[in-house]
């Protein structure tokens, strides 16, 4: 008898493994469908289904056991008899793997599982196509008989794994070198480390001997610890990328397209929670790439392109940032079509539309209200639009960029922080209070004389590296009731008007978001520092000027500016047509 707690642990382990198996099977089935002769895949599928069946039966999870038993039998025939695999077969095994996933979810929650219908269908297929072979030269378990009864006997999950057989017959206990840890425990650990760092900064700041060796060591150790915890949370993007074999296959099949999915940079590591947050966005982008990007095979041939389209998922590192590219070699996005659609939907005025460059027009696809496509297909139109993709990415401090060439294809690039825990920030002072800007948004820090700043319409401009750039005094933003009131006449001129010509130079932080630059004039620049940003709680989370807060060494709360929302608002076309027009010239 296994103890209750032990059994629970075993179940958790089993389900974790089963998820992996489920994913691996999707991938292997996709490979096999493209190349039905692939012995390696057949062998792997057989092994996986065999192992899962054994373990499931041992734990009394009969539905999974029976399903995998039937799959295992199918692949025994395929392995031993080179069976011909038809479309119906692949339809069935993909369905079976979906059911496998469903069963994992249901049984994990001790829910009631239905699966007999599908198993019956698989059995019928076996009967009609495979078991018609002479049964005496088929080396498989008795087909179809009492799948339930063998559960108790078939306990050794690795009994046929060849690598174990060569070893001695002595019973031997193997210990895995890996530990599985629930994500919530890691979240808890990360939180503690964040608080430890804040506490450490506070203690050091209060002490006169703040440069002592003891503190240096403490600093080093806490910083090493912080990186170690961040490192534990990293997972390879391949974990997510690999799920796309199946998604791409299903979308392509439904849309009658032919698509090859290429994965690159799967070994790049990123925080597990970040990966989770962007996973839906990635699904959306890949679906879009196939259903809107890739042309029909005939069309492609006519255009002189390879008949099979290519969608590439690529990950790479750039400093502290992970870039994920979703690239297709399809038809690209036509700016005219976007312009017309935006006009049709009343998102922009005719007059304004004519001032937009093609590049700016393409950006309109990220506006909410653009994506709910007129023809809602099952694949692409689920109400998740590009605006949702953008919001999800920005919620973790990332950015989405798009590059498209008509007739050649489109590339979406998500720039993501590799870790959510700690970010580099520039601290500055405004009205005797400290604030932070994440370094991911800062470009440069400059100092300019008041007379270099010019009033233009409602805003202020200055020259920076030969280009005109919008300058905003942060004080003006702070004094507004809300970000929306910046278009009130003169609201952005107040601080500037109070300056005298011979005043000191003004400190300007140049920030960039989605290719749009602006200078933020602040009172005083402080230092660059790594901060642990915490989200604001209600009702402060509604303040769009700030994205979060951190606690400084002196114990003070420091608000973190939300550059994305500031730039977004200032450049938002409907509200500030004139302002941004003058900006773009």
């Amino acid at each position: 008898m296994i103890e209750k707690s032990k059994e629970k642990q075993y179940r958790e382990m089993f389900f974790a493994e089963a998820y992996e198996a489920h994913e691996e099977l999707d991938k292997l089935f996709t490979v096999l469908e493209k190349n039905p002769e692939d012995k390696g895949s057949i062998e792997s599928i057989f092994r996986i289904t065999h192992t899962v069946k054994g373990n499931a039966m041992a734990l009394g999870l009969d539905p999974i056991g029976e399903l995998c038993h039937t799959l295992e039998e199918m692949f025994t025939y395929i392995k031993d008899h080179d069976m011909k695999l038809d479309k119906e077969f692949f339809g069935l095994i993909f369905r079976a793997n979906d059911k496998f996933g469903e069963l994992i979810d249901t049984l994990k929650k001790n829910g009631e599982a239905t699966y007999k219908g599908l198993v019956a269908k698989l059995e019928l297929y076996l009967d009609k196509h495979f078991r018609t072979l002479e049964s005496n030269n088929v080396n498989s378990e008795p087909p179809n008989s009492s799948t339930n009864n063998e559960s108790s006997q078939e306990l050794e999950p690795s009994d046929t794994e060849p690598d174990n057989e060569s070893e001695s017959n002595q019973p031997k206990i193997n210990f895995s070198d890996q530990v599985q840890i629930p994500v919530r425990k890691l979240d808890g650990l990360l939180n503690l480390v964040g608080e430890l760092i804040i506490e450490k900064d506070t203690i050091i700041a209060r002490d006169q001997n703040r440069n002592s060796n003891m503190y240096k060591r403490l600093n080093r150790i806490t910083s090493d610890m912080q990186y170690a915890v961040m490192d534990i949370r990293l997972v390879q993007v391949g974990l997510l990328f690999n799920k796309f074999h199946r998604i791409a296959r299903d979308v392509a099949e439904a849309e009658n397209k032919q698509v090859n999915l290429q994965l690159e940079g799967t070994e790049i590591e990123i925080d597990r929670n970040i990966l989770k947050i962007i996973s839906d966005s990635l699904v959306h982008l890949v679906r879009n790439a196939i259903s809107h990007g890739i042309e029909n095979p005939e069309e492609r041939v006519g255009l002189g392109k390879p008949q099979i389209g290519t969608v590439t998922l690529n990950a790479c590192n750039e400093k502290d940032i992970v870039l994920i590219e979703i690239k297709d070699d399809g038809k690209g996005i036509d700016p005219e079509a976007i312009r017309n659609k935006a006009l049709e939907r009343g998102m922009i005025s005719e007059e304004y539309a004519s001032t937009l460059s093609d590049k700016e027009v393409i950006q309109l696809i990220f506006e909410s209200g653009f994506s709910n496509a007129d023809q809602v297909t099952e694949i692409s139109g689920r109400g998740v639009g590009m605006d949702v993709v953008k919001k999800a990415t920005e919620s973790i401090g990332g950015q989405v960029n798009i590059e498209t060439v008509l007739g050649e294809g489109t590339t979406f690039t998500l720039s993501l922080p590799s870790s959510m825990a700690v970010k580099g920030a520039l601290l500055f002072e405004q009205d005797s209070q400290e604030f932070a800007v994440p370094l991911s948004f800062t470009e440069a820090v400059i100092s300019i004389r008041p007379k270099e700043i010019h009033k233009v319409n409602k805003g202020l401009m200055a020259d920076y590296l030969g280009q005109t750039m919008l300058i905003v005094f942060l004080k003006d933003l702070f004094e507004m009731e809300g970000l929306d009131s910046f278009h009130d006449n003169g609201s952005l001129h107040k601080t500037f008007d109070s300056l005298k010509a011979n005043d000191e130079n003004i400190n300007v932080i140049i920030v960039n978001y989605n290719g749009r630059y602006m200078g933020l004039a602040v009172d005083k620049l402080l230092q660059q520092k790594e901060i642990v940003e915490k989200p604001l709680t209600q009702p402060l989370d509604k303040v769009d000027l700030f994205s979060g807060a951190t606690i400084l060494g002196n114990g003070m709360v420091c608000l973190v500016l939300n550059i994305a929302s500031v730039i977004e608002k200032l450049f938002s076309e409907r509200r500030s047509v004139q302002l941004s027009q003058s900006m773009m010239n």
Partner: protein, 117 residues
């Protein structure tokens, strides 16, 4: 009497449904394909299953064989557009409790249910 209706035509399902309710029986589930039919047969443990013979994913005869082999206690009434003698024979020899040929009157269904129950 708990009845499970299996038919891919909504029209047909509502016909059978009305007849069954009229006669004071209970419809515990409806299935539109073979897979769901088998799932529900196990899950709902109905007294009677009315089974269409041509379903989008399976033929009714296969569903019948699967259910017979599993020794479910449900009685199965095949409701089919195929009225050939040979088809009826095959159904009954595979364990169907009755065989109704479409089109039918509500009374036919009700009679069949009281007969096999």
């Amino acid at each position: 009497m708990k009845v499970l209706i299996v038919d891919d035509s909504e029209y047909m399902r509502s016909q059978i449904n009305d007849a069954i309710l009229e006669a004071g029986h209970e419809v515990v589930g409806e299935a539109v394909n073979g897979e769901t039919a088998i799932d529900l047969a196990f899950q709902l443990d109905p007294d009677i299953i009315t089974l269409d013979n041509i379903l989008p994913d399976m033929v009714g005869m296969d569903v019948l064989r699967v259910l017979q082999k599993a020794n479910l206690r449900s009685k199965i009434i095949i409701v089919s557009g195929v009225g050939m003698e040979s088809a009826i024979k095959e159904g009954l020899s595979n364990g169907a409790a009755d065989y109704i040929v479409k089109p039918f009157t509500p009374q036919t269904i009700v009679d069949a249910i009281s007969k096999v129950a």
